[in-house]
Structure formats: structure tokens, C-alpha cells
């Protein structure tokens, strides 16, 4: 398939499970080919999952020539560069008909904030239906073309995506039934003052 933009991502670990990186704009066509091709027959999509790659700050030393006290000198300078992060979705495919696999597909969003759309593969493999909903819920990847993209595990009114690496839980989060110390102090900010009762106790 010319121009499909499929690249190979090698796995440095010992498991030897390498993967294919898909260009999101051609992903549906490639996926359909993988499913329908008689040799590959990857008819079984086992696992769909998200991975969060936050923005990475990389410090590198650069040699710069600079005029120090009027003399041209080569000085080493540390510069910080931010490598933009992304959200990645990983699909594990197997073949039930020919009993081979896994073939691993990966797609990446442009960034983690406003361009988080990826094409949904639910129309090709139904097993992606709940799993893509889960990735949307916990990572915030928006799957275009998904028939029913709602939160799966968190409640509908929830706004954040808890599996992201930089997720901070809201401080009114009631994880302790009998709050004390630091948790109680944090909860106090959310409680109405009542007569005869010290907030947070």
C-alpha cells in the first residue's frame, strides 16, 4: 500500500514483540487490509490500550562561541529543550483463523491537549468498542467514528483523565471514610462550618 505511512517500531526488550506505527489518516484502510488479507487474517483484536507520554524536558550541553571580555571563546552552555508529548494507543492483533500473532499497531496523537483525535477501529473490530471507550475515559483520546464514545469506568460528570501521568486527584476526593490529619484538613476546605463542630473532624 503506497503512502500508507506504516513504520516499524522495534522493541529493545527481550520479548521480541515489535510493532507497527500507523499514520492515523490511513489507519482504517491498513486495519481493514490486515483483517481481510487471506495470508494475515488478523480477525481478532485482543487488546486496546492507551499510553501517556508526557512532555519531556531534555537538558543538553551545547558549545557556543561567545564574546567573553571582548575575546571570542567557546563556552559550554546547558540548554533545555522540551520534547512534546503525546498519547499513544496500542492494539494487539491475533489471528483466530490462522492461529498466529501478536501483531501490534500503534498510533500517536499530535499532542496531549487539543489535538487528541485518532480514528476509531471499532467498525473493523467490535472488540474495540468498550476498550476504546476506556482509553477515552482514562486517557482522553477522542476516537472519531466511534459509535458510542462515552466514559466507561468513571462517571459521566467527571472531567479529568485519571490514567495520565500528570493527573492530580481533586482535593475533595473522598477516599477515606474516616478522614483524619492531612486528609481531614484538606476536606475541611469543602465543608460548611457548623455550630459546635470544628470543620474537618
Amino acid at each position: 500500500m503506497p503512502g500508507a505511512g506504516v513504520g516499524i517500531v522495534s522493541n529493545p526488550g527481550p520479548s521480541g514483540q515489535h510493532s507497527l506505527r500507523l499514520n492515523p489518516s490511513h489507519a482504517a484502510a491498513v486495519a481493514k487490509f490486515l483483517r481481510d488479507d487471506a495470508e494475515l487474517a488478523l480477525d481478532f483484536l485482543s487488546n486496546v490500550t492507551g499510553v501517556d507520554w508526557p512532555d519531556k524536558e531534555i537538558a543538553e550541553k551545547v558549545k557556543v562561541s561567545k564574546a567573553v571580555d571582548g575575546v571570542e571563546q567557546t563556552v559550554e552552555e546547558t540548554r533545555k529543550r522540551v520534547e512534546p508529548g503525546c498519547l499513544e494507543v496500542v492494539y494487539h492483533l491475533f489471528s483466530v483463523a490462522r492461529k498466529h500473532g501478536p501483531v501490534i499497531l500503534r498510533m500517536r496523537t499530535v499532542n496531549r491537549t487539543d489535538q487528541v483525535e485518532l480514528p476509531s477501529l471499532t467498525s473493523i473490530w467490535r472488540s474495540a468498542e468498550f476498550q476504546e471507550r476506556e482509553v477515552f475515559d482514562l486517557y482522553g483520546v477522542v476516537f472519531t467514528g466511534h459509535p458510542d464514545l462515552r466514559r466507561l469506568l468513571m462517571w459521566d460528570e467527571f472531567t479529568d483523565h485519571p490514567m495520565r501521568r500528570d493527573y492530580v486527584e481533586p482535593d475533595d476526593f473522598e477516599y477515606e471514610p474516616t478522614a483524619h490529619d492531612a486528609v481531614a484538613a484538606r476536606a475541611a476546605a469543602h465543608q460548611e462550618p457548623r455550630e459546635g463542630k470544628v470543620a474537618g473532624q
Binding site: P12, V51, V96, P102, R126, S127, F130
Partner: protein, 390 residues
């Protein structure tokens, strides 16, 4: 129930359902089955729209038991997640341990000694037997036979759980497998006890089979109900006994032959009517095959260590990379996907839960059937909410 004429207005309408207007199609009744319905084995809700008794729409609602297992596992070391995997599918903790150990062993290319492999097979198949027995018991219970068949299953399950307790220290939260082997060795006395229990199992399955399989009510309620077509089953990622009941020959013990499964001859039973009865029957037949495997494994088990002495269990840092390990758990394909960035904790830890993914087809199986059958169809999927919601 007759309502007296002088009763207040709300009491007169005590049984009036909430009617929604679907816009000219006639009145549909919306029912929320769950989250505390007795057939849901935990907290799970189905939003069902009914036309009379017929199911028009069914939307599962998840998340009541969600505790973000994956996030917790990413914040602790590899070993620290092992006891937590017991809590995913709490009926089958040993197979959860095995799947996780297998994924980490793939990530670190860790070898497992012979004896540990045999112990894993013995425990994994015993887990399958007790899961299938109790799953059948629950299914019959949901049909209205309250208790009796379930107690037959639980009697047998308890014997197997006693074995687990003697070996691992816990009936259900076994926390037994380790990366590169098993935690403790099984004594000769334990193996003898296991042989004794396994010798009684064929009699139990025969009894269970005779009691249930040709029962008229069971056949009337389950045959032709909840049909799942094989092509949809594969496309929707259904695995385990449900997939094989739809006539697809796909058993990961055969396909991947992970561990030492290629040493055991066993057959893979397949259904040809694709209905609830077939799912029931497949579980019954799989128990018989599992008994054969355990018998052979108990006969062949060699002496030797159960842990690779060079294996690092604690505080190791796998090389950067990723691995997906999967096993044929009693409920289907249980997979663990791990990404390591070279640190002591997994960078990404993902559970591929068979219970959740098998529910993808719940609506397809239930559409057009009666509301009373929804409970049966749901029961034949065999889920545990600890794994669905994680």
C-alpha cells in the same frame, strides 16, 4: 394486591412504571437492572428498554467497582502488584498470578523450572475446574433453582480451595506465583492430598452432569436462547468457553502452548448451537478435560527447585521494552501488557480483562429476547466484576 379506595394517590400508583415516549413507536419501559440485582455477582447495571417483555435496547453500565488497579500498579514495584492481581477475578486468583508472572517473565526473559511449570498447570487446571463448577452453579441459581446445584458445586470447590489453602496459605487470595517460579514448594503430603481430591472429581462431574444436563427445565430455558454467531464472537474479541461454545476452535493452551501445555493431550470441546446451553455444556466438558490434565501432571511432576535460584524477584529493573503475555484463564484470554522504561516500576501496566470484553456482545445476544432470559444470558457469560471494572 388490591389498594383501598381511600389510599393516598402515590400508593395507588405503586406499580405504575416510568414510561418513556420513544416518539410514535409505542411505549417503551426503561428498567435499570442492577447495580444490586442478585444475578450481577457484584455491582453492575444494565439499562434495558423493554417493549412488553421483549428487550429493545440494553446498555451495560460499568465502573461501580473501579479502583484504577492499573494506576496503582504503575506506582509500585513489579512484585507489589502480584497480590493485587488476586483481586481481579477473585474466583480464579491463581490464573491471574500466572498471567502476570508470564508477562513479567517475557519482559525479563526469565526461565521457569520444570517443577514450577507442573505446579502451575496443576493449580491452573484446578482453578478452572472450580471456576466452571461454580459458574454452572450460579447459572442454574439464576434460573431459579435456588441453592441446590450451587451447593453441589461449592462442596467440590471447597475441597479444591482447601488444597489451595494448604499450599499457599489462603483459600482465594493465593498470591502464589513468582517471576521465575512459585513461592513455596509443594510437599509430598500435599501432592497426595491433591491426588485424593482429583480422584474424586470425575465422580462429581458425572453426578453434576446427570443431575443437570438432561434436565427438562434447564433445556427449555437455555436451548436456543442467547445465540452468539461465530463471526461476531471472533470480531468482538470474545474468548474462552464462550468463544468455543460458538464453535470456534481457539484455546490459547493449544495455540500458544505456553508453559508446558504441549505435553498434555486434551481435547477442546466446541459448541454447535451457539446458545446458553452450549456454554453450559462446554464448561461441563472442559472440567473433564482439565481433570485429565491434572491427573497426568500429578503423575509426571518431577523433583527439583520451584524457583530459579538466579531469579530476581525483588527490586529488579527490567531493560526498557515491552511485553504482552496471555494465558487461557477460565473466563477467557487474560493478558498483561507491560512497558518498562528501565525503572523499578512498570511504566505501563495493562490488564486485558476477559470478563469486560466478553460483555461487548451482551446487547447483541439479548436483543429480542425476554427480560427473564437476560439474566440467564448474562449468567452464561461468566464474569466477575472485580475484573470487569478493575
Amino acid at each position: 394486591m388490591t389498594i383501598p379506595a381511600h389510599a393516598p394517590e402515590q400508593l395507588k400508583n405503586w406499580n405504575r412504571p416510568r414510561i418513556i415516549e420513544p416518539g410514535g413507536d409505542g411505549d417503551l419501559l426503561e428498567v435499570a437492572m442492577g447495580p444490586h440485582h442478585p444475578s450481577t455477582h457484584g455491582v453492575f447495571r444494565m439499562d434495558v428498554a423493554l417493549d412488553g417483555e421483549r428487550v429493545i435496547r440494553l446498555k451495560p453500565v460499568f465502573g461501580y467497582l473501579h479502583r484504577n488497579h492499573e494506576k496503582i500498579a504503575e506506582s509500585v514495584s513489579y512484585l507489589a502488584s502480584m497480590p493485587y492481581t488476586d483481586r481481579l477475578d477473585y474466583i480464579c486468583s491463581l490464573t491471574n498470578n500466572w498471567a502476570y508472572a508470564l508477562a513479567v517473565e517475557k519482559l525479563t526473559s526469565q526461565e521457569v523450572p520444570e517443577r514450577a511449570e507442573y505446579l502451575r498447570v496443576i493449580l491452573g487446571e484446578l482453578t478452572r475446574i472450580q471456576n466452571h463448577a461454580s459458574s454452572i452453579g450460579f447459572l442454574i441459581q439464576e434460573m431459579g433453582a435456588s441453592g441446590t446445584p450451587l451447593m453441589y458445586a461449592f462442596r467440590e470447590r471447597e475441597k479444591i480451595l482447601d488444597l489451595f489453602e494448604a499450599l499457599t496459605g489462603s483459600r482465594m487470595m493465593c498470591n502464589y506465583m513468582r517471576f521465575g517460579g512459585c513461592r513455596v514448594d509443594a510437599s509430598a503430603a500435599w501432592l497426595d492430598a491433591a491426588r485424593k481430591v482429583v480422584a474424586g472429581l470425575p465422580g462429581f462431574v458425572d453426578e453434576f452432569d446427570q443431575l443437570l444436563s438432561s434436565n427438562e427445565i434447564l433445556m427449555a430455558r437455555t436451548q436456543g436462547v442467547g445465540i452468539l454467531r461465530p463471526e461476531l464472537a471472533v470480531n468482538a474479541g470474545v474468548t474462552g468457553p464462550m468463544l468455543r461454545a460458538s464453535g470456534i476452535n481457539y484455546d490459547i493452551r493449544k495455540v500458544d502452548s505456553y508453559g508446558i501445555y504441549n505435553r498434555f493431550p486434551f481435547r477442546v470441546p466446541l459448541g454447535d448451537h451457539w446458545d446458553v446451553y452450549d456454554r453450559f455444556m462446554i464448561r461441563m466438558l472442559e472440567m473433564r478435560e482439565s481433570i485429565k490434565i491434572v491427573e497426568q501432571a500429578l503423575k509426571d511432576i518431577p523433583a527439583g527447585p520451584v524457583m530459579d535460584p538466579k531469579a530476581k524477584i525483588r527490586g529488579f529493573r527490567p531493560k526498557a521494552g515491552e511485553a504482552y503475555g496471555r494465558i487461557e484463564a477460565p473466563k477467557g484470554e487474560l493478558g498483561f501488557y507491560l512497558i518498562s522504561d528501565g525503572g523499578p516500576n512498570p511504566y505501563r501496566y495493562r490488564v486485558r480483562p476477559p470478563s469486560l470484553i466478553n460483555l461487548t456482545v451482551l446487547e447483541d445476544m439479548c436483543l429480542g429476547s425476554d427480560i427473564a432470559d437476560v439474566v440467564l444470558i448474562f449468567g452464561s457469560v461468566d464474569i466477575v466484576l472485580g475484573e470487569v471494572d478493575r
